[in-house]
Amino acid sequence: MLRFYVWLYVAFLYAPIAVITLFSFHSSPSLTFPFEGVSLRWYEKIFSDTTFMTSLQNSLIVGASTALVTTVLGSLTALGLARLKGRIQTFFGLLAFGPVALPGLFLGIALVMLFSQMGLQRSLLTVTIAHVLFTLPFFIEAVRSRIEYFDLSLEEAARDLGATPMQAFRLVTLPIIGPTIGGAAILSFALSFDEFIITVFVSGNDTTLPLTIWSMMRRAVSPDINAASVISLGLSIGVILIGGLLVWYQRRTALNARARDTQA
């Protein structure tokens, strides 16, 4: 009985994905069973659609820029937070993570107001700024949990052996926390790539992939939407998997190191 419920649960979670994936390879425009054969025609169609391709490109540009800016700002913040102590650290830690709790709707409206106050035209730039704001807390949290295991005496040891502060960072700190930062950067990219609500408010004429798919849906329910969605899904999952694996691997090695320390 229990097993039945588990299967029901899994079906509930994954049936929509399975259906949309299946029909993206359907040879006929019909979106209902029976399934009449396999074809790549919808993928061909969507890849020759300039609106789709432009928005895919926009999403990649915004995602990459967001990841880059978030990585620089987020790494500095996380490293800074690790050096604070006690209540001040808790306070700034909460402050950095806080925006996660804000509804996207609210963030979107707030940003639109801010951009118009500043006289900033809505464009891919405003989308990127919004996405940085959105991804930064996730990034900081992911990196912070690793840096907490980082032994600051390693930096002191490097200084003691003749390294300048920059050399200590480059030769010791960065190689140790680098993979975590890489993983978190990929995570930021994925978050930005999928972001919809805030983007609705702050994008101008240049739309991103989720917005394009949304507007395609509104025009007509056409099978090429399936293909577009599956492409988007595949990219997101791939990127998240890589990032998640990196972060997981890092944390595991850090935890192992700590376990050994306490044994010794």
Binding site: D151, S153, A157, R159, D160, L161, Q167, I176, A257, A264
Partner: protein, 362 residues
């Protein structure tokens, strides 16, 4: 005392905010010695070491290394290296690269680095471990790598911050012997921080006993043990019996102290005391003589009558607790050849020679 000083501290004071952890420390460290900074946790010994390494700036005072004022130099500019309490080995580098770290920063040529690192790994008996990863090492091995990583830079002074604290007892004793050997073979000056009096006694040429940010006493382990200058020192180094009383008379060379109903005579040792002043006396457990009281006459001088309360057999020696009207005394003797011991409840007399006690005024 003819050796030149390699490190000199003048009026070193350190405050963290409103909290002053080191008060006006003056200290000279001699070329080639093993000097231990000993004291309870929070006494400032680690801070003092970090000031010498350059991790903390001094609030007041100067740090001189080989005649050069390094007070304003950063750690990478000071000719000292440190062995960290938890080793702080670089986990992303193998043993060889850890040891080579300092020399690479100094831009030594590759073949000289290889030679120096190999030499140093052999010195710490890890000649074959160059390609091991740090996480593959045992605690004792990691300790040796940390030593090699510091010593390969030929520091003027090697700083060791409780290096054995993370090791278990057996390895700790072995590493103490190893440290002595390495010290002998390199001739480097060691400054060693510990809270463990045994480590300090075994290892040190001189001990600096610290308490609450001040130096209590400096001396060889033997001096410190035989002639503690304060109650703190007497209690911190080894076991000791403390008797307290008031000065009843002062001879030219013996001070008389009223303890309980009797009198204790103790060498004055130049300490200025006046009649009526409250003082303490420190007597080491092994300096007592304890005999069965039966058949002994009455005496009240340098002796206390009591009852054996507890006997602890520790193999080569036996430790007794003897309850007297004044204080419960610890008495320690080596196990006698015939194995005879006092039994709990026996009435005994503990006595001692005047020069076995030390007069303490603080």
């Amino acid at each position: 005392m003819s050796l030149p000083n390699i490190v000199e501290l003048y009026g070193v004071t350190k405050a963290f905010g409103a909290l002053t952890v080191l008060h006006d420390i003056d200290l000279s460290i001699q070329q080639g010695e093993i000097l231990t900074l000993l004291g309870p946790s929070g006494c400032g010994k680690t801070t003092l070491m970090r000031l010498i390494a350059g991790f903390e700036p001094t609030t007041h005072g100067r740090v001189i290394i080989e005649g050069v004022d390094v007070s304003n130099l950063s750690p990478d500019q000071r000719p000292v290296n440190m062995v960290f309490q938890r080793y702080a080995l670089f986990p992303h580098l193998d043993v060889f690269d850890n040891v080579a770290f300092g020399l690479r920063l100094k831009k030594w040529p590759k073949d000289r680095i290889r030679e120096a690192v190999q030499h140093m790994l052999h010195l710490v008996q890890l000649g074959e471990y160059g390609s091991r990863w740090i996480h593959e090492l045992s605690g004792g091995q990691a300790q040796r790598v940390a030593l090699a990583r510091a010593l390969v830079n030929a520091p003027k002074v090697l700083l060791l911050d409780e290096p054995l604290a993370a090791l278990d007892l057996k390895i700790r004793h072995h590493m103490l012997a190893e440290l002595k050997r390495i010290h002998r073979e390199t001739g480097t000056t060691f400054i060693y921080v510990t809270h463990d009096q045994d480590e300090a006694t075994i290892l040190s040429d001189r001990i600096v006993l610290m308490n609450r940010g001040r130096i209590e006493q400096i001396g060889t382990p033997e001096e410190m043990y035989a002639h503690p200058r304060s109650l703190f020192c007497a209690r911190f180094l080894g076991e000791t019996n403390i008797l307290s009383g008031a000065v009843s008379a002062c001879d030219s060379d013996l001070t008389h102290v009223a303890v309980g109903r009797g009198t204790v005579k103790v060498p004055a040792n130049g300490s200025a005391v006046s009649v009526g002043q409250n003082v303490s006396l420190a007597i080491r457990p092994e300096a007592l003589q304890v005999r069965r009281r039966q058949g002994l006459g009455e005496t009240t001088e340098n002796a206390l009558d009591g009852v054996v309360e507890d006997v602890v057999f520790m193999g080569s020696r036996v430790v007794y607790s003897i309850r007297t009207p004044v204080e419960t005394l610890k008495f320690q003797e080596t196990r006698s050849v015939d194995g005879s011991m006092l039994a709990p409840g026996e009435e005994v007399r503990a006595s001692w020679r005047p020069d076995a006690a030390v007069l303490l005024t603080q």
